[in-house]
Symmetry: C2
Subunit: 285 residues, 2 copies
């Protein structure tokens, strides 16, 4: 049971956590925090949070759990703002889509990784955003990855794990680097491909006539290109090494396919498509 | 009104056309044809076709409309099989996802492009296939592109147009090359990206652990990688030039993004993502 949860950044992710914990009866009071009072008031009106603070150090005072769900580029500023105001015994966790950069930010602000910080990542975003889109069921059956460090207190990890389990999520632990590689592959690279494809096609066709002939497959394929540009810029930069590595490998794989098509190598093309279909049908099964 | 429609290749596309025309009361008799009697019997059992022939020349005899919906790699064989058996006054159209290669096939079999042939392409596939997946509503509101040639009789194009309009589709006419370029961009390239991505990831992770952490966006993005491998191999080869051209340009665009990430060029990355989101939100509006 959380006595007072402070959510810094009350959007889809923070708002859905609030709703889920409230629905589960696992939290007494929820304080929202950000710089945007109008936005926070909307979250109060929607019943997502109980009250809000626009001063982050006031917001975290007295909280036993602090959840930071802001774009990766804003993490460091948040840690600077809450430094010195956290209660003894408070646990801090986050929702950043890359973990290496958040750990670096925490480390640089607090000189070392504090025992009360548990890096986390709920894998449950959609291309929607904002507290208006938040729902209590967002995390049900979804994966939440925690990447505790050697410095992290076991009890802190357990408290964060139990918070997520109360939302219906399935919690996994892994190390920071493995997380960042997996997410680069299954989330960051696909987003970059979708953004790049849509932008290329938009440039090809001034009048957008081209999109008139896009069928359902294209609509699904490019849905993630409607995601928040600032959030994704931050992710690219925060997970730069893993993303660049995957872009490089993907580019090479695409070259292999182009060569096979150029050489009319029917067998290799078919093999690639069959392997892809088998893998896709298995995981989506 | 079609007196006798012969559908060569009774899968999702052919089966859905049959169902739609039947529902609209626009056809008297539907004859299915392919080499697979068991499959055709299933189409009879499902009420999609009235009867079938496994001999293509027998199948087209007496038909006033012939619809060829087989993989692009099988088109030429079909035209060879029906040559000499078509009724005077019969109109032939097809459903190939690339039009240049079909026109070449017809030309090489009939020495020139016959006045009764109307190249066509209903843009309405899904990653499903087979007559079991066919539905009368598949074409409602969807685009069907016809690419009549200078040799094509106007009356033949009008009859094919009117057949498609009876299914609820919106018919557009354009030239062969323009069709093939548009489809390479909005359909062929996205499929190649999805196939390549899934196959790359499957190779990266022997145990497929990586897919456990794929969220909804990834599922949508890769849905088209479940499409029929043979059909897509044929499309790559049939629309080879346009596909290679787009793969080349897309590779360059991806290099530009990689450079921006490497140089931490926040402004360019954000601009690209914002442009993509704006274009995507507009066409998917």
């Amino acid at each position: 049971m959380i006595r007072r949860l402070c959510i810094i950044g009350v959007g889809l992710i923070g708002g859905s956590l609030a709703r889920a914990l409230r629905a589960a009866g696992e939290v007494e009071e929820i304080v929202g925090a950000s710089r945007d009072a109008a936005h926070l008031q909307k979250a109060v009106d929607l019943g997502v949070i109980d009250r809000y603070e626009t001063d982050l150090s006031a917001a975290v005072a007295g909280a036993d759990m602090v959840f930071v769900s802001v774009p990766l580029g804003a993490m460091r500023t948040v840690f600077e703002a809450i430094k010195g105001s956290l209660d003894t015994g408070a646990v801090v966790t986050d929702a950043g889509s890359a973990k290496g950069s958040v750990v670096e930010d925490v480390q640089s602000v607090f000189a070392s990784v504090p025992a009360w910080f548990v890096p986390g990542h709920p894998i449950a975003g959609t291309e929607e955003s904002g507290v208006e889109a938040s729902v209590a069921e967002l995390y049900r059956g979804r994966r939440v990855i925690l990447t505790p460090l050697p410095e992290t207190r076991v009890e802190a990890t357990l408290r964060v794990r139990s918070m997520w389990e109360a939302t219906g999520a399935v919690v996994r632990e892994m190390d920071v680097k493995h997380h960042d590689e997996i997410l680069a592959a299954t989330s960051h690279l696909p987003h970059l491909l979708a953004f790049t494809l849509v932008e290329s096609l938009a440039r090809m066709s001034e009048k957008r006539e081209i999109f008139e002939y896009a069928a359902g497959g294209f609509r699904d394929f490019t849905r993630i290109a409607s995601s928040d540009p600032v959030m994704w810029r931050d992710i690219c930069l925060a997970n730069r090494d893993a993303v660049l590595d995957l872009l490089h490998h993907f580019g090479k794989d695409l070259d292999v396919l182009a060569s096979a098509i150029r050489n009319r190598d029917e067998k290799s093309i078919l093999q690639l498509f069959q392997d892809a279909k088998a893998a896709r049908d298995m995981f989506a099964g």
